[in-house]
Subunit: 525 residues, 2 copies
């Protein structure tokens, strides 16, 4: 069987690698046809050189050029949406509808177009002009960006099509995509569309490149290479921390989206007031996508009592009735099982599930665990291990004080939420816990489950370590996500004809907001 | 002799430390009177706990409260400016005029007042509101900030009064200041003013705290402690990298301003056109403050030829004629001597200086070194070692091509600059080198020396590693410097009465810029 070529320096070229891999169908556990190469370091280095050359060409291009590429790419994706969706379904077992076709792919092209609009408009640069001092500054591109995509969004977070890719390009940087090994064919189809769009919009050859897999040590070499500008990584904590260590050591920017268990605190009044509604909402959120979302609610804190018991039983019933979804891969199933064992060892008891599910596919029964507040406080670290998949842990605190103390042990998370009653009986307790949760999460929710990450300028898909590597940045939400792939570039006394257009006296498009002499304006200097 | 107390939890308390130290007069090499404690870890931990308690109190205070403190503090500094300036002069030997009294202290109070204005106005938060999605986000405070001040700005970068302090407070965070051991009495006087201002403006006790010195391992524990929000450090590369490693490992934000040699490329036309002017400018900039600026021009690249030879000789003459200034400390003198030895070992030859200067004080002769482009390219790393002080290295490239190749070897720097002629003969060569330098420096200059860092919103006092730890942030320039001490806080479906005021429908002061539904505006929702 032929091994698929890699996309390097504007060419689909045969990989120099001697190893190859195949994806596996999660629905049948059988290997899928395509053979994909493991790229050797020499190939990664070739990509770095080509990206560096491309960067020299595009470094001062106006946002318009990147916008055109991103839009052409979105069009190219749409023109081959059927094969992309079919492939993503085959490689991930995620449903075609209502997910890949009508949610995730439109989200993907929508992100590319939003990023294009942000690049064209330019306010994300925060161009700042001090006419008296003769100093001007803006966010400028940082250089070639390595994007490591995750397994759970084969389209919207695909390394060569997703949110990080769109943001890195919109900020003016070439991208070296490192595909996820569980959906290489989907990635290949995206890369074909990207390559076509790059050619039709006259991007330089090394602007968009793809390798499918590298050895782990070569990943670490890539993110810490002198020619790399920054890295975006979404995936497991363990692999992410290896990259972070390598990048940090040499001062390279690295943006990680690691594990998150997204704590939810349901206060007693809410439970009493909206028992069924919340149980439905929670179960749907937790089992959606078989729990394989970064923002899946993995831990729920309740106050002990009859309502809490009833809620646990009610959710257990829902979990039991709902079919166990197919997991993304054998690795995900293995890690889920291991995570559940680890939580049990840390003191959690099984309420429902924790058994193989039906069928010759990657799956596991919907699993609900519970633990007392005392037990949680005795081993807060062990009980916050992520069991990625259709599983959640309920923590039953004995009183209000313990609710607060449990929250104080929360690690950094992408999200955290509260359910409170509408009459106000929960308000005092909420106000005690809110400050504790606020500083530990990126996005704070009220009366809403955390799954469903809107692509909104106000979104924060980020949060304190270990959810991410830096609490000041978001991976979703345009234009904020662009700022990760920028450096602050200041021009002091630089001759006017040498200034980049966003810092020229004349506003380059009449729409870009700039801070001129202390006032935000769209006017010229 | 009594050991000075530390400022912890709103009290000047006796240190629990058993070790103490004294500052040394750089002008006489004799010890100065005050005894200052080395704080044990228990004391640092007490400060962390107090800062955490203070943070819980101020977490959602409006910017106005921090502004009031910062302004009261600026006033309190001014009311005791004479003793502060006298002490700073005694401890650093920096001139009273024209430096400490009429430049650095006004800059310090100016920064505090600018930070106050930014906190009050609030646009630095980048408040973003999506009314349709019900999502709102802003930069919020990150928690207690540790500030490690450097030796070379006893006022404007003092750990408890300088730019990092002002930015951290304006962003709404308590500060734990770790003073620099070379000017403890100056730091004590600032802390007295800060404490007075904190009391008069009713800040909670642990909001502003000071320890003078800790053991190195306790510094690393401080920056990586669970209760710390972020760290700002300005100082030597070696000590900074130890802190960075400790903070990075646990995902704590750390902003470092490390060494920088600030390359300047003087192109042939400029040299021919403005020989004397540039030689004067360069000599003044390099010897100003005895070269003890982060932005002192430590490396100059010239193209070989008669003009270059004449320029080297002209600068050497100016260096020889100018008195050798007093250095900040024995450590600085020692490091300068060691740096010059290291540069010689790497191939540099002495043009002038490299000998003890007159007087029983910390000093060394103004020293100019030179090296050929060939030699530089043979050991670019060794020839970019910082020799902090009144010393610079000229690199003589043999041709245009080598000029570019030398620039390609520049490490990350705070600044980099070009001198070109006005007739345009240098333009083609400039345009070849500019892209290379642009990506390696935070602030790019034309026809201007890098010393003199204006406190402008457009300033970037930052740059790629190893100049700093992240090229997206600046330590000088308000409001941008505040963003280092913030986390992105998103509110999703949060009930209106629970939103922080900057995200409420009503613009809290009518002046804060907010991005509402895609439009920057000062209006209410």
């Amino acid at each position: 069987m032929t091994v698929q070529p890699v996309l390097i320096d504007g060419q689909w070229q045969e990989s120099a690698g001697t190893d190859a891999f195949q994806a596996t169908s999660p629905a049948t556990k059988s290997p899928l046809p395509g053979q994909f190469p493991v790229s050797p370091w020499s190939e990664v280095e070739q990509a770095l050189q080509a990206a560096d050359t491309a960067f020299a060409v595009v470094r001062q291009w106006p946002g318009e050029r990147f916008a055109r590429f991103l839009e052409a790419y979105a069009d190219a994706i749409e023109s081959r949406s059927d094969p992309i969706v079919a492939s993503a379904h085959q490689e991930t077992a995620l449903p075609v509808e209502p997910r890949l076709k009508n949610v995730e792919l439109p989200r993907t092209t929508g992100q590319l177009r939003q990023a294009a609009a942000a690049a064209r408009e330019g306010s994300w640069r925060a161009a700042t002009i001090d006419t008296q001092a003769g100093i001007r500054a803006m966010r400028g591109p940082i250089g070639p960006v390595a994007v490591f995509g995750p397994n759970n969004f084969p389209c919207a977070f695909n390394s060569i099509a997703g949110g990080d890719f769109a943001a890195a390009v919109a900020a003016g940087n070439p991208v070296i995509a490192k595909g996820h090994s569980s959906h290489p064919e989907t990635t290949r189809l995206f890369a074909e569309a990207a390559h076509e769009a790059a050619q039709s919009t006259e991007m330089p050859p090394g602007f968009v490149q793809l390798v499918y897999r590298t050895r782990h040590e070569d990943g670490a070499k890539l993110v810490s290479h002198p020619l790399i500008g920054a890295t975006a990584y979404t995936g497991s904590r363990q692999a992410g921390l290896v990259l972070k260590l390598a990048a940090d050591r040499v001062g390279k920017s690295v943006y990680l989206e690691l594990s998150s268990i997204n704590p939810i605190v349901i206060l007693p009044g809410a439970l009493q007031e909206r028992f069924d509604e919340i149980a439905d909402e929670f179960s749907a959120s937790c089992l959606m996508g078989t729990g394989q979302f970064c923002t899946s609610p993995g831990i729920v804190v309740l106050k002990a009592g009859e309502d809490a018991d009833r809620f646990v039983a009610g959710v257990a019933e829902r979990f039991g009735k709902a079919p166990a979804g197919t997991l993304l891969s054998g690795g995900v199933e293995q890690n889920l099982r291991a995570g559940i064992v680890a939580l049990q060892r840390a003191g959690a008891e099984v309420v429902t599930g924790n058994e193989p599910a039906d069928g010759d596919r990657f799956c596991f029964a919907n699993t609900l665990l519970k633990v007392s507040g005392d037990q949680f406080l005795a081993n807060p670290h062990g009980l916050q291990e992520e069991a990625f998949g259709n599983c959640s842990l309920f923590v039953i605190a004995k009183d209000n004080d313990q609710l607060v103390r449990v929250a104080e042990q929360f690690e950094g998370n992408l999200t955290g939420g509260f359910y409170t009653d509408t009459a106000g009986s929960d308000d005092a307790l909420h106000d005690c816990i809110e400050p504790v949760v606020r500083q530990r999460v990126g996005r704070l929710l009220n009366d809403k489950m955390p799954t469903g990450v809107a692509v909104s300028p106000a979104m924060n898909h980020g949060g304190p370590f270990p959810a991410t590597g830096h609490p000041g940045f978001t991976a979703v939400g345009i234009p904020a996500s662009l700022t990760r792939f920028a450096m602050l570039q200041c021009y002091d006394n630089v001759r006017p004809h040498r200034l980049p257009t966003p810092l020229a006296d004349k506003n380059p498009n009449g729409r870009m907001w700039r801070l001129i002499d202390g006032e935000w304006t769209r006017s010229d200097v």
